[in-house]
Each structure stands twice: as structure tokens, then as C-alpha cells.
Symmetry: D3
Subunit: 283 residues, 6 copies
Amino acid sequence: MQAQNNCFIGFEDDFTQAKAVLFGAPFDGTTSFKPGARFAPNAMREDSWAIESYSPYFDKDLEDLELFDYGNLELPFGDKKNALRMIQDLTQEIIEANKIPIMIGGEHLVSLAPVKALSKKYKNLQIIHFDAHTDLRNDYLGEALSHATVLRRIYDQVGDGNVNQFCIRSGLKEEFEWAKKHTHLEKFTYNTLESCVRRLKEKPVYITIDLDVLDPSVFPGTGTPEPGGISFHQMMEIIKILSKLENVVGMDIVELSPKFDASGVSTAVACKTLRELVLATVK
Amino acid sequence: MQAQNNCFIGFEDDFTQAKAVLFGAPFDGTTSFKPGARFAPNAMREDSWAIESYSPYFDKDLEDLELFDYGNLELPFGDKKNALRMIQDLTQEIIEANKIPIMIGGEHLVSLAPVKALSKKYKNLQIIHFDAHTDLRNDYLGEALSHATVLRRIYDQVGDGNVNQFCIRSGLKEEFEWAKKHTHLEKFTYNTLESCVRRLKEKPVYITIDLDVLDPSVFPGTGTPEPGGISFHQMMEIIKILSKLENVVGMDIVELSPKFDASGVSTAVACKTLRELVLATVK
Amino acid sequence: MQAQNNCFIGFEDDFTQAKAVLFGAPFDGTTSFKPGARFAPNAMREDSWAIESYSPYFDKDLEDLELFDYGNLELPFGDKKNALRMIQDLTQEIIEANKIPIMIGGEHLVSLAPVKALSKKYKNLQIIHFDAHTDLRNDYLGEALSHATVLRRIYDQVGDGNVNQFCIRSGLKEEFEWAKKHTHLEKFTYNTLESCVRRLKEKPVYITIDLDVLDPSVFPGTGTPEPGGISFHQMMEIIKILSKLENVVGMDIVELSPKFDASGVSTAVACKTLRELVLATVK
Amino acid sequence: MQAQNNCFIGFEDDFTQAKAVLFGAPFDGTTSFKPGARFAPNAMREDSWAIESYSPYFDKDLEDLELFDYGNLELPFGDKKNALRMIQDLTQEIIEANKIPIMIGGEHLVSLAPVKALSKKYKNLQIIHFDAHTDLRNDYLGEALSHATVLRRIYDQVGDGNVNQFCIRSGLKEEFEWAKKHTHLEKFTYNTLESCVRRLKEKPVYITIDLDVLDPSVFPGTGTPEPGGISFHQMMEIIKILSKLENVVGMDIVELSPKFDASGVSTAVACKTLRELVLATVK
Amino acid sequence: MQAQNNCFIGFEDDFTQAKAVLFGAPFDGTTSFKPGARFAPNAMREDSWAIESYSPYFDKDLEDLELFDYGNLELPFGDKKNALRMIQDLTQEIIEANKIPIMIGGEHLVSLAPVKALSKKYKNLQIIHFDAHTDLRNDYLGEALSHATVLRRIYDQVGDGNVNQFCIRSGLKEEFEWAKKHTHLEKFTYNTLESCVRRLKEKPVYITIDLDVLDPSVFPGTGTPEPGGISFHQMMEIIKILSKLENVVGMDIVELSPKFDASGVSTAVACKTLRELVLATVK
Amino acid sequence: MQAQNNCFIGFEDDFTQAKAVLFGAPFDGTTSFKPGARFAPNAMREDSWAIESYSPYFDKDLEDLELFDYGNLELPFGDKKNALRMIQDLTQEIIEANKIPIMIGGEHLVSLAPVKALSKKYKNLQIIHFDAHTDLRNDYLGEALSHATVLRRIYDQVGDGNVNQFCIRSGLKEEFEWAKKHTHLEKFTYNTLESCVRRLKEKPVYITIDLDVLDPSVFPGTGTPEPGGISFHQMMEIIKILSKLENVVGMDIVELSPKFDASGVSTAVACKTLRELVLATVK
């Protein structure tokens, strides 16, 4: 008799045969407003079974892909450096086995770790980033490593012109100014995503989706809800565009904080976004 | 001194004079994810008094119609066959008195009972169905009677070509395939509703609205929230189109689960949908 | 050592230097459905620090304006006349010092008090009003002073043709009829706002926003949620239009009831609306 | 076909045959902290069906008594005087028919109305009062009629020595001092209840239970939770003692605010307390 | 790389070596008031990691026992007979391997299945039952299999005098009468538990704990909260007494409904009760 | 016109005249289960106005003491060392002015900072500690500074025999063993508190109350609820005993997490505990 594994729907294969490997990074130690993103990976696993593995949008099924769910890392909440190192080590192991890492956060800071691992392997790693917030501060209340600085730290890894930011609707004036020189940042909308994807089509791309890019009407369960975001229909349009990328080498979705949305809608949105994103980009 | 009856707003007439009869079918015994639709009818009655009986959309008032609110059936939660039989008997009684039955669920399975009663009276009964889910499985975990099979069972009653499904965005691949042969199923949208209504204009029509057809942003209080649904404005457009039907012989709205939306918004949405639907189709 | 004052973000100046003065009027004594608007001002102050003071929409910052946050009035919940008098007195004091009063309610009835104070100073005071509800009853369950009669009482102050109502989607038939003769009322939408603003450009204008004008999908935290409202994007469009007014002499936002939205989204929406409204109209 | 009446369990008889008449007084217009007691009567009716009508404590059944549930009064929230008058009129009607009025509040202020009606009929009316708070202020923020002054107003009706207060654990110093001269007030406990009941055995007694006398551990759903109250077992002991009274002429339970306890426990506590109180005192 | 299994704390061994086997029976299909017990097993697994595996009460550690967590059965919600059969089959398999089955419900009806399996193996199986409710009806709304009849059905298996019920505080008069002849039922308290345990010391005993035996102050998260229950300290006393049993052959804890207690306290109570019960009786 | 300061009830004096200084330390960066203690200080300030400043237990009033409320420190969530340093600096400033620091956490780790400051001034500083958990680990997932290690770190400051722990009901076996040699630890109860207080009567004492020492029935709003704690009545007994101390030089109450208890009861408990503790020990 075998213990039942409580995995994400459709991620029921073994590590060795898998093309992509899902894992949870339940860390929210630098969250400045409302913590709780640490509960996202398990909530998503449990509620994923209330959606189907089949997508009528892409007419594809997660069960037709080889997918493995590793479970969660056990991370120390008061020690961000150590937590990031543990995430980086796991990502390293996954990409060394030639598999695509798929991470569920946690707060946005966790995205730094897979980018560090991947940017060693891929010299010209490209970032596509969806978010309500710029996340480009150089430090936040004195901290260089923070959910509010993570894209700046990612920029430190991949360099000028390789970070592409969409739908951003909040930040300091200085961040928007800084972005003009160093990243592609589109305020509020994603009109340039299509051309961006054409440009990056064959390059190695890491996708990071801070789910608070969605309007809080459909995604209230997040630490810092910011009104004025995109609808779920627009998220689906975005994923359709992303499906034209041919070399997605890693991805994450972060900042679901399920306990702040008792209705479970935010968790359902996160699950469906992940399903569609995987069906669109894991090839 | 008479006890006060806690009815739905505007449903304050007697049975004998009424054109339409509202009743609650608080059954959710086959719900597979999050049960609680049983609490919908009473929640809707209480909160209906926070909306008006007058509709500025149709410039009509529920008080200008003769409407009776029977209250709820008392149904056994562990015995779906018996529950369905009790609902069917009540519907039978209503239609024998030449009145229009209006049912508040409960889970979607309850819709089968009025359809059974009505399809005896009307040989060419037509179904118009709004839902996030196909509900066309032949069985669900071995059960033939289930919220996930209810449209298939309804199809068994009314036959090929008489089930019209709109806005469907989730299901098994097999269900979508099966629908191609046996029902009119429009994925995601309701572009063909107008022509469907023209076609069915004078035929006897039963309308069943699974409220999860709405996007969970505006209707989080449901057992299986499925992102990507229609807005409330679109629901109003739909009802405007339905107002052209001339022979609506019964209707239901199902799958409100009020305790999963403490804000009360989902209940308000259900109440207003019911008000508009009644004003549009009870003639 | 000085006690820290818990003010709204960016309202950190002194009274004497300030151009505009914010205060809370935490009264909800006539609320007929779900009370709780009394908790709005403090909730908004606390959560305002989770949005930025900088607006990427207007490329302006609250910190570049001189703004003072007075705190809350302490109002007796069972004595509406006395409560209104206390609000009127404070507004009086603010406008006598040539500053713009900005009020956070409370229920909508509180809007009557600043209008009374302002209509003494400005003979041709104009009202611009956003709401789900007409609020034009002459009395409500026998009460002349009520959240459901407040625009009628405001009309009593400013007279025929000086009340401009937008996006109204609920009311009695009589109210809509009455409005045809006495106010400018646009049902459901705000298509005529642009021309209204052109007309009132240089006149003294008071803006009152009942936040339930927003769709409950994005603003569930209110006493009487009414489906079918505007989106947050539309609220931003409205504020952009209002930014063309040159003589806004007072404003309020009312009917946030934060405890009915545990996710905090409604409070965030109220905070961002206030930030944008102030940046658009305080000159 | 008759509409189903949604009454409190066991209160299923007609007015004429009834010994006691239950009604709801859903008023909370003077609540100073967290309003919501208006929702108590309907919540209790709905949830009463989850407890039994039979009490294993008294070995008695509500169904063996003749009991009528009138429903709720529709009260104006911003007009306390009018609301109190309406409650007094209904109580008057009930006692003129020689029936015992049983009122579910609402906030505590509503208790004044039945006491006014009863003190006209019974010259030496006695009050037995359970509460966390003294409620003996002469005015509250200038209001003479308030939840915080209600026992003082009741004292004005019945006079020195006729108000008996138990388990009080919060108030102003002045209130406790005042009580020493004018009421029987036992702080924290109910050790003197037994002798009080012996003394009042044959006198006409009105019982008023502010449910916040219970510890918030078992009764969180109330406007002003005050830690350090009695347990439910102690409430049962109290009711056992009260069962020795031979002439209870009226009673109320007030200050349940069901929406502040989503678990439903507070409502269940209120229902069971009412069941036991009725079985103990209606003879 | 192995997927992480999300087991109950301390249940980390393999099936073959284990002395006891935990499994979840997430069925609540006959719940008559508030469903949701289906969510208990996974909620308990996740939150068990917030308590320790070590008990300072018994000075024992779960890690010193060999324990296996099988996970959950996937049960059809609308088909109670089939669900019970599946549970019985699993229990059968466990006891055939000479291991002790430990079940987390689900509603109370699930207890019938392991009793059926065990009563085949042990001719003189004894039941020790803790509950707020008698659960002795012969049928409930016509259903013979129901949460309200389960102890009657268990009685059908084990016969007169072999069911021992403690702390019962709610039921029909008939149930209490029936119990006098057929079971050992102690109303409200557990004074006779000590002598019962002495009597059954070496006999095969099945323990079934309906967690609503606890007072709703400490266990609000249950479908039918019944005020007046035991405290957690008393639960610990009970478990201490049960630790003297020498032949416990199976056990369950049922009726946690975690979504009705957002604070997580009820789940913590269930976890700690299970830890202590296992440490006390698995030998 | 002065901005209103939103202070804790009764803490309305200036710094210079004050005997004791309250401040908030809203840090929860090392919380391992459910974060949110950062919201405690502001929640307590707001809700403190719903209890009185007068205590009928001690017949004393906060208004008769000179008390100042500084407000909150703004602490970096991802940088525990820096956060602790900022708290220590503020405490230093307070004790240099010969005032008593009163801290509201935050998680328990914050207690280390005032102890560090005070142990410099008072060579023989004594700790009295109430908690559900030992908090005596040497490190937690590799972190030396953690909510789970804080009493061990405090011990490092004050040395053998100077830490007195009461009511502890959870921990590792190793922690209980270690305590036997280095601290005075009473499991479950506080029977030895009286003699401890006699012993420490004139010594400088720091009191630290982790509110999870209370049973989760009355204090559900905490990060790691642990069933089996003390009642509020017992907390009052404890404070009565503590009132015999003559040289309390500092105190804190920590681990309220208000968003996990929407009823507000936990916040009310924290407020009343603080009021009583201050009235008992500030002399």
C-alpha cells in the first residue's frame, strides 16, 4: 500500500520521465503589508482538483504532458539568504537534468533564485514580467533583498534591455524613471507584448507572473491588492501570445495569499493560470 | 394577528391568483467540491429586500405581476432520488394549476426534476442553459445522477437538438466532443443566443441558469468557481435577449452558495438576476 | 518624543499650511441594510500606506501638495441631527480658513452637512454625484434624513438643475420620474459627464462619490451592494474628466464598509480613488 | 397551497391559542461600536432548526407549549423614538390578549419598550437583568436613549430597588457607585440570584438577557465583546434558578450580532438559551 | 528525486512496518445542516505541522511509534452506500494486515464502515462513543443511513449493551428513552467512563469521537454546533482514562468542518486530540 | 487645529509627564506558521475604545495614571537584526528617561530587544514569562533569532535561574529537559507563581506575555493556536498575583494576530489584558 501524494492536477509523473518539474517556494519573509503567500502552493494543489486538466482554450490536456510535482521546499522564514540559496540549489538540480522548473511562490523575492541558476546556464536569458508593481527599488527600508527590489536584483543578473515588464500600475516616480533607461516597461497595458514575443521567440525566456497584475476584483487574495489591473480574459490573451515562444526555460507564479480570499476564487484563478501557462509554453 | 411571511421581494400574492410560483430546492447532496448551495433560497429571500422590486432596465416592477413564494421543500440530503421526486411532484402541482414554476437551487442536479415534469406536458420542450461547465458526463464517479451529469440526464428527457448551451468554459474533452453531435453548445460566449431565441420564440422553453456562468469576480459564492466567465452587464444583455421569448414555461437559477461569499455580493447578484429574469419572461 | 499620528498617506502637513483638509465622519445611523460604514475612515488611513503617494496615471504625487488629516469626528450614532450639525461646524471652520474640505464617510447622509456649509458661501453651488442609487426619496420609513433621501435634501439646498447624477442603476420608479424634472440624472452610464464638466468648469463644484457606484466585483465592501456598476478603469476615466474642473470646493467619498470585505480590496479601491481624486481636483 | 412560514422551532401555533408570542425587534441604531444586532431575529429563526425542540436538561419540549412567532417589526433605523413606540404598541397588543411577550433584539435599547408597556399593567414590575455592562449612564454622548443608558431608563419606569443586575463586569466608576443606591447589582457573578428569585417568586418579573453576559469565547458574535464572562454551563445554571419564578410576564434576549461570528456558534447559543428560558419560565 | 508526501505529523513510516494506519474518509453527503466535513483530513494534515509530535502530557512522541498515513479515499458524494463500502474495504485490508485503522471523517456516518469490518473479526466488539448528539434515530427524513442514525446502525452490528455513549446533550426524547434499554448512555458528563474502561480493559474496543462533543467555544468548526459541551481540558482527562484500555482495535475522529472556523482553532484541536488519542491507545 | 492622535485608551498624556510609555513593535518576520502579528498594535489601539478605561476588578482607572502612547516603530520585515536594534534603541531612550516601557508585539522575538536594553541597566533582571510554548530552542531551522528561540536568547542575557516560565504546554522533549537545569518552568499551570512573586517582590522584573498562553477558545487570533490553555478568568488571577510585584521595569504582550479572528474577540482580550496588567504593575 502506497501513500497518496497530494500533487497538482496533471503533475502525476515521475521525476525522471518529466519534461517540467513543479515545486513550491513558500517564503514570504519580506512581505511588507499582508503576509501569507507561504500558503499558496498547498492551497493550489488542493484546489487544482476542482478545475479540469483539459483546456478548451488550447484543446490540450495536462495529462498529455510529462509533469512532476516535487512538493514544497521547507524554508526558514527569518533567513532570506538561506531560503534563496535553497531554492537556487533545487532549480540547479532541475535544470541540470534538462527539465523546466516551474515555481509557485511565495512572495516575489523567490523569483531571484531560479533566475540566478538559469542565468548561469543561459548567457542571454530574457525575462518577461507581469506585475502591478515595478519592483525596481534598489533597497526597501534598507534591505537589498525584498519583494520590492526583486526585479532590480534580477536586472543585476541579466543586464540592460533583457527585462521586459508589462501592465505595471504602481511604483515610485524614481522607479519609472530608472526603468526608462534599463528595462522595457509598459505602463498599465501589454500592447507591446506581441512584438516582444516575436523578438524573443527563439531566445531562452524566463516568465515571472506576479498575480497581483490581475485586478483585485478577480484576484483579491494577495498581499498588496492594487486596483486597476487586468481581467482574467486579458490574462488568457497574454498566455495565448506567450504560447508563441519556443524556448521557455523556466517560469513562476507568485503572490497568491489564499487566506485573504476565503471564497477560494483567487486560488482557482492561480490554478487555471498555471494550467494554461504550462499548456502554452512547455513543449 | 398573522405571522409575517419572509418571502422574496414582490412575491407577495396568493397561490390561486399567481401567474408564477417560486420555490426553493435546497439540495446539494452530490456537490463534489464545496457544498453549501442548500443555503441559497433563504439567503436570497432575506437579501432580496435590499434591492428594489422596480427595474430601471425594463421599467417594470415585480409588484405589477402576480407572484407567489411557496417557501422551501424539505429535502433529504443523502437521498437524491427521493429529493428529485419531491421536487418533481411540487412542479407537477404548479404546472397543473397553469402556473410557471420558478426554482431556486440548490445544486444543478435539481433542474432535472422540473424538466421531467414539464417534458410530460410539453412534447417539444426546449432547454436554454447557461453555465461554466458542460455537465454532460454520463456518470460521475459512478453516479448517473450528479451535478456533473445533469444536462446529460435532461438531454435524455428532451432529446437531440433541444438542449442549447451557452458560455461553457470547462469540461472534459469527451463532453465537448459529445456535444458536437447532440446539443447546441457555444464555447465561452453567447453570440448565437439571438438566433436561438428567434428560432424558439413560440416554443415552450425552460431556462436553467447555473450562476457560475458569471465570472467569479462578481459571483465568488459558488461551489466550483471557474475563472473567465461573463460579467453582470453581459448577464443583463442575455436577459434582454431572452425577453423576446414568448412561451417560457419554467426556469431556475442554481449554484449560489452564499456562505462562501461573506460580503453578500453573490446573493445580491442572484437576487437581481432573478428579478430581471422574471420581469423579462413571465408574461 | 512625539506621538506618531496615523494619517492618510501624503496628508502629513499642518492645518495652517494645508490647501485641503481631510476628515472622517464615521456615522452610519440610518443605514437600512448592512451597517458598518463607520469603520471606513480608520481602515482607509491604515491601508493607504500600502499604496504609493505617487500616481503613474497623473504623474503627480500627494507629497507635492499641502494636505492635512484632521482625524475623525466623534459622532453620536443615535442622533443624526446632532451628528450632522457637528460635521457642518467642522466644514465651516475649514472653508472659513479657505481650505478645501475632503470628507470620508460614513453613510451617504453625511454629505448633507458639508453641502449645507458650502451652499452658504457659494450661492450657485453645483453638485456632481456618482452612485448606484437615486437617493431621491422624500422620506424613508418616515425619516426625512436618511441615506436614501440625502440627494433630495441636498437638492433642497442647491435647487433645480444643480444636481448632476451619474451611473444610477437602482431606485423607485417615482424617483426616476421626479429626477426628470429636477436633476440631471444619467441612468447606468456617464456619457454626459464630459459636457457637464465643460459647463461647470469655472463654477464652484462639490463632488460626492458613493463608492457603491462601482461594481460589487471590485467593491464588495459596502452596505447595499448593487450588481451592474462601473469598473475601476471607468472610475479612473471619470476622475480624468473631473480633472478639468477648475473650482472644486469640496468633495467626499462615502459608503465603504470595510468589515464586509475581509480581503481589503474595497479599502484599497477607496484609497486609490481618493488619491486620484485629490490629485485631479485640488489645485 | 400555503406559503411556508419560517418561524423559530416549536413556535408553530396560532396567535389566538398561544400562551406566549415571539417577535423580533431588529433595531441597532444607537450601537456605538460594531452594529449588526438587527440581523439576529432572522438568523435565529433559520438556525433554530439545527437544535432540537426537546430539552434533555428540563425533559420538556417546545412542542408541548402553545407558542406563536409573529415575525419581525419593520423599524426605522434612524428614528429611535418611533422604533420604540412601535415595539411598545406590539407588546401592548400581546399583553392585552393575556399572552407573554418574548422579544429577540436588536440592541439592548429595545428592552425599554416592553418594560414601558408591562409597567403600566403591573404596578410592581421587577426586572432581572444579565449583562456584561452596567448600562446605567444617564446619557451617552448626549443621548438619553441609548444601548448604554437602557437600564437607567428602565429604572425610571420601575423605580428604586426593582432592578436586579447580575454578572456585570464593565462600566464607569460612577455607574457602579450609582447602582449601590438604586439597584441590586452583583459584580462578575450571580451568587445572590437564588435569594433574589425566592424574593420575587410570585411577583411579576421581566427578564432581560444581554447575551454579552456570556464569555466571548462561546459568544463572539456581539457588538461589544467583553472578556471574562460566564460560560454556557453557567447560563444553564442561571436558567435553572429562574425556573422557580412563578410569574414571568415578559422576557427578551438581545445583542446577538450574527455576522460577526461566521461559525454560527453565537447564533446557536442564542437559540438554545431562548429554548431553555422559554421552557423554564412559560407556564 | 522523490515527491514530498504531505502526511500527518509523525505518520511518516511505510505501510508494512506500521502499527497503525491513518486514512481520510472525506464524505459528508448526509449532513443535514452545514456540510463541509469533507475538508477535514487535508486540513488536519497541513496544520498538524504547527503542533509538535511530542506530548508533554504523556511524555511520549509520535515519532517513537511506527505510523503510516495512507491519504484519502476518493468517495462519491451522492452515493452513501458505495462510499461506505469503499471505506469498509480499506479498513478490511488494514485489519487483515494486523494494523490498527485510524480514520479521520467526514461526517459521523462514516464510522459505520470500520465497525462493520471490525465486528466481523471481533465477535464482542465494544464501542466507546463521545458526542453531543444521541445519533440513535432509526431513520432521518426516511433515510436509514445518516449522520443522525449512525449509532443506531452501529448498534445493529454490535448489539445490546455494547455501545457506551458519553457527554450526550441533544436528541429526541424517544432516543433517550430507547437508549435506556439498549445502550449505556451518560447525559452531559463522563463520570462513568472510568468504570466502563475498567470493565472493557482487555476487550476489543472501537473509539469514535464526534468532535462536536467539545464545547463550540473551543470547537466552532463543525456542522451542527451544540452549546454546553466539554472543554479541551476535559477531553484530555477523557484520553487519560482511555489510555488504560489495552486492546483498542480501531478509532476515528469525525465532524471537523474546517472552513467554518477560519481561525484554524478547530483544526488545531482536532490535530492535538488525534495526537493524544494515538499516543494513549496505540500500543 | 490639531490632528487627532489615535492612541490606546487612557494613554493620552505627553512623553515628559508619563510614568510609562507604550509602543508598538509590528514585526513578525520569523513567524513559522501563520504570520500577521504585525497588525496587532493598531488593531488594539482602535478597539481599546470599546472597553472602558476603568477596571471594576482593581477599582482603578487608566486615566488616573500618566501614560503616553508613542505609536509604532516602522520596522523592516526581512531584516530581524536591524528591527531588533531599532526596538532596543527606543527602549533605551524610554528607560533613560526613567519611564517604564510597555511593548505591544509583533511576534515573540521582539521581546529580546527590551530585555537587552533593561539587562544593561538592571544587573539582576528577572523574567516572568507566560506562554503556550517553551521557546527555548537554540536554533530553529538554522536561525538563532526566532520566535521559537526567543526565551533561550533572553536566557543568554539574564542567566541561570532568572527566567520563570508558566503554563507551558508545548515544546520539544529536549526543551523541557534543558529547562529543568536552567529555568524555572511550570508545565500547564501557574501554581508556583505566588511564591515566585513573593521571591521577586522587590527585584527588577520584566513581564512577557505571549497571549497564546490563553486557550484558543477565548484567543483564537494568534499565529500558532495551541489548545488546552488558561481561561481569561485565570489570566485575571495571574494579574492579581503580579500586582504584588513592586518593581516591574518593563513588560510586553505579544502574538495577537487580529486578522485571524474577524470577530474581534482576541483583540478585546488583548486590550483588557493590557489594561489590567498596567493597572496592576505601573506604580
